[in-house]
Symmetry: C2
Subunit: 348 residues, 2 copies
DNA sequence: CTGTTAGCGCGTTCAA
DNA sequence: TTGAACGCGCTAACAG
């Protein structure tokens, strides 16, 4: 049972159609037909071929097949910066769950936030002839994606809009969510609110900062630059940034964070400071309800973000019904304000 | 800039080597050589070919190439049950970070805990001629993986040993970690300790239960079946199971959970019960330090688990130096006991 | 019902 | 230095 099959396999590779055909005493064409369920084959040969295939443990070579048929590879690239971030892994699962039923497989392209790596990965995906790409590009320089798209590879952006080229995208209501969360803090009486967010080059960070400042403006409050910290990529960096804000002579009474990394980092800083500071952040996350201090988050369905993105992509890859109009589509996922405190979870 | 290239591309696919060759007025062979950096080409033709390639936006077809070369596909399958579980996404990142420098790409195969899906996914990976598979199979029925391995596809198991066939694997010290954690609870004076764990079919769950019971045995304590709950796969299910234990007439004073899902679920049950119950769990996780009650976890390096697995796989795929002996290798990742409480983090 | 021819895109081998 | 032939594994299209 554990032993290899005979002859052919010893030559290194896996058994081919011809190996099956020879063993069954038919042409490779006949073998091909039988194994593919083509009815044009006598019951007798059908059995012989099937037996031969079983004996050899034959598995059709998907690549050679798609090469011949001129089909795609059935591969879809997923470009993210850090798969260990729950946001990206949930997104990945959402994407894959939609792709899988279509026979499409998700290929990981993790950029580690490095622009050079990102460009190389996109080129690699194109060279591998992926049928499409779902991307969360790190910066607004998306020339590599533009090139891929111009080369005929469908591209869908998740949580960022395309810059400098046309593509479908699924966005989160960054501006609206951030503004509403900030309004909420203002309504609670906070007047000195710190902002702890992503680098300026990141779309969501910028957009959420806009929502933040817009709410302050509307309330007639100035935006104090001293209270704004941007550029943190890890929870550790976020903790340091938040600590700085809390150490200011006139420290903020509330912090608004632009993503889960910064929120968690800020949480640690607040705990360490021991002072009571209100905390609000974009992105929901596991255990947000367990932190032991009131926390408000701008929540949205990350899984849906992934699913929608994949659906848009699939509609380009397999224009089942009428192909979608060439025009780029833009979907926006809504947000809701969720407050966790000792009283439990409260959705607004 | 946004416009397609000319003629050829309109025919649907991407430009091929021959398109480049024609445009450059040379044979496809010459084009191939130039684009691959083969020195055997005059400077003149070299330039013409390069110019033609640039103009067409030519990218070599990686698949066709590897088919011709008889090389592998450069694809590695990653079989996991739930990528949204931080354990698996960290593992994925560890795996991918080792594979990437070798030009290998990670293909996601998410089984959703379904054995049928798992089998289909493995077959699909084999059909796609992946160069290898890193797998965390859901159950002890690993016949599909055994078949793949027998067919010549290198397989490495992460956090589970192979069952019924030979393969490399990287394990966690499940037994030792669980026993030590249980001993720790016993040392604190706990005599009624509940166990909240994975289904019996899962290796780690069983092994960790063994460590748990072994510690009890050594202390001369009986294992009370009423205090053992197995089969929870989600935090929600785990919360219910833990609640049941806490509702027992003679409830446990401590809970030991066999993985991060169960620990988080049990945490919620303990909070809801309002009673003081010691909590210890296998797997470290983000915010474990922030739960507001003392928590001890059996921690290990998930990233390393992934990296080691990938390294073993790579050594089989690309036997750089002397190929590793055919004998299956088994690596065990150590654990450490980490306690989080108001005093901070304490490693033992 | 079955086999032959041809070729997907590419690169090795051999000849010119 | 360059090109022609051949084949990787597979399958449409066309014989037979």
């Amino acid at each position: 049972m554990a032993g290899m099959a005979d002859g052919r396999a010893a030559k290194g590779g896996k058994p081919t159609l011809r190996d099956v055909a020879e063993l069954a005493g038919v042409s490779s064409m006949t073998a091909s037909r039988v194994l593919r369920g083509d009815p044009r084959a006598s019951a007798a040969t059908r059995e012989r071929v099937q037996a031969a295939a079983d004996e050899l443990g034959y598995m059709p070579n998907h690549m050679a097949r798609s090469l011949r048929l001129g089909e795609g590879t059935g591969l879809v690239g997923l470009l993210v910066t850090n798969l260990a971030n729950p946001f990206y892994s949930q997104l990945a699962l959402g994407v894959d769950s939609v792709l899988a039923p279509h026979g499409l497989k998700t290929v990981i392209a993790n950029t580690k936030q490095d622009p050079v790596t990102e460009r190389e990965l996109v080129d690699d995906l194109v060279a591998r002839r992926v049928d499409g790409i779902v991307a969360v590009p790190a910066s607004t320089d998306q020339r590599h994606l533009a090139t891929a798209a111009a080369g005929g590879v469908p591209v869908v952006l998740a949580s960022r809009p395309p810059e400098g080229f046309e593509a479908d995208c699924v966005l989160v209501d960054d501006f609206g969510g951030a503004r509403r969360a900030t309004e909420d803090l203002l309504a609670q009486g906070h007047r000195r609110i710190g902002f702890v967010g992503s680098p300026r080059t990141v779309y969501t960070g910028t957009e959420r900062l806009k929502g933040f400042t817009d709410a302050l403006d509307a309330a007639g409050l100035p935006v104090d630059e001293r209270y704004v910290r941007q550029g943190q990529k890890t929870t550790g960096e976020a903790t340091l940034a938040a600590r700085e804000l809390l150490s200011l002579p006139d420290p903020p009474t509330a912090l608004f964070c632009s993503n889960n990394r910064n929120t968690i980092g800020a949480y640690h800083a607040i705990r360490a400071a021991g002072r009571s500071t209100a905390l609000t952040g974009f992105d929901d996350f596991e255990l947000a309800d367990a932190l032991g201090l009131p926390l408000t988050v701008v929540a949205y369905d990350t899984d849906q973000l992934g699913r929608r993105s994949a659906e848009l992509l699939v509609s380009r890859i397999r224009p089942a019904d009428r192909p979608p109009s060439g025009k780029p589509r833009r979907i926006t996922v809504p947000t809701e304000l969720v407050t966790y405190n000792s009283g439990g979870k409260q959705v607004r």
